[in-house]
Amino acid sequence: MEHHSILRVVSKLLIPPMLVYALYVQFHGEYSPGGGFQAGVVFAAAFVLYSLVHGIDALTKVAPPRILHILAGIGVLIFAGTGLVTIALGDAYLGYYALAENPQHAQEWGIVVVELGVGMTVATVMLSIFIAFASHTRKLDNKDW
């Protein structure tokens, strides 16, 4: 779809704000609607838009599936690992109070870290599933659209 210049220009305008917005949703999720799940999906949607305009091969160059799969696992491990850390610090599994002196700060730390794990897993899983579907297909010609 190289010659669809409107699509290319509009996607170039849209993708950076989408990524920034995803980060905003991720880290502002404690104060407004949002959090890891939503942020992950919006983050993945930005990459999906990129691939819809520039093709799946361009996307796999930017985001190689192997790395995405590893990141998805790391996201789960961040969540589960937070629980182990709190055990090591002397609280229950996922009992965030052990993370800092001030109980409210401790809770906030715990929530931010856990939501980061959620966002990472959701974003990479959605993107990997999309890549799995899209690269399974035969090459689409412009005539098909």
Binding site: V25, G29, E30, Y31, S32, P33, G34, G35, F37, Q38, V41, V42, A44, A45, V48, L52, T60, P65, H69, A72, G73, G75, V76, F79, A80, G83, Y93, L94, Y96, P103, Q104, Q107, E108, G110, I111, V114, E115, G117, V118, T121, V122, V125, M126, S128, I129, F130, I131, A132, F133, A134, S135, H136, T137, L140
Partner: protein, 187 residues
Amino acid sequence: MNANLVGIAIIDIVFFTLLVLTAVAIIRQRSLFAVAMLSGVFSLLSAGLFVTLDAMDVAFTEAAVGAGISTVLMLGTLALTDKDEMKRKRSALLPLLVCFVAGAALIYGTLDMPPFGAADNPVQTHVAPEYIERTPAEIGIPNIVAAVLASYRGFDTMGEVVVVFAALVGVLLMLGTTGRPSGKRKE
């Protein structure tokens, strides 16, 4: 109070009419591309309904997931399979009957339910006020949904994340990690 309820009812019914029209269009439409787009429309409308029901986080998720990713995945599947639905020879009378009976049973069941929106409903009086009262003191963040999601019910959320990861493993097992079709395609 009553005027408020009537106002909500009108908005609800407008959204609901649009949702049912979309669903009926999905039933009648044979082009699967149109069905995929209509299911995206359905998700977006339900996100609007969630906003009127005070569920901002849910509406946000539904709009991003249902109208965005899910439609894209469906289109990706259509590119690999058929574009149109075949006409079915079998009569749709029995399914229709089953749905009517099941729907009537469900509606009969709702007659005993506590009224919609009342503040003294059982669902409102047990753990929910606890979460709302304790969040400012114990967690100290304004978004109660995030507090419950990540702290009070952290175990639950961890399970969900593992399920999402497991879904990825399932998809990769079926479609292959290399990206190219593994078996030879039957012509």
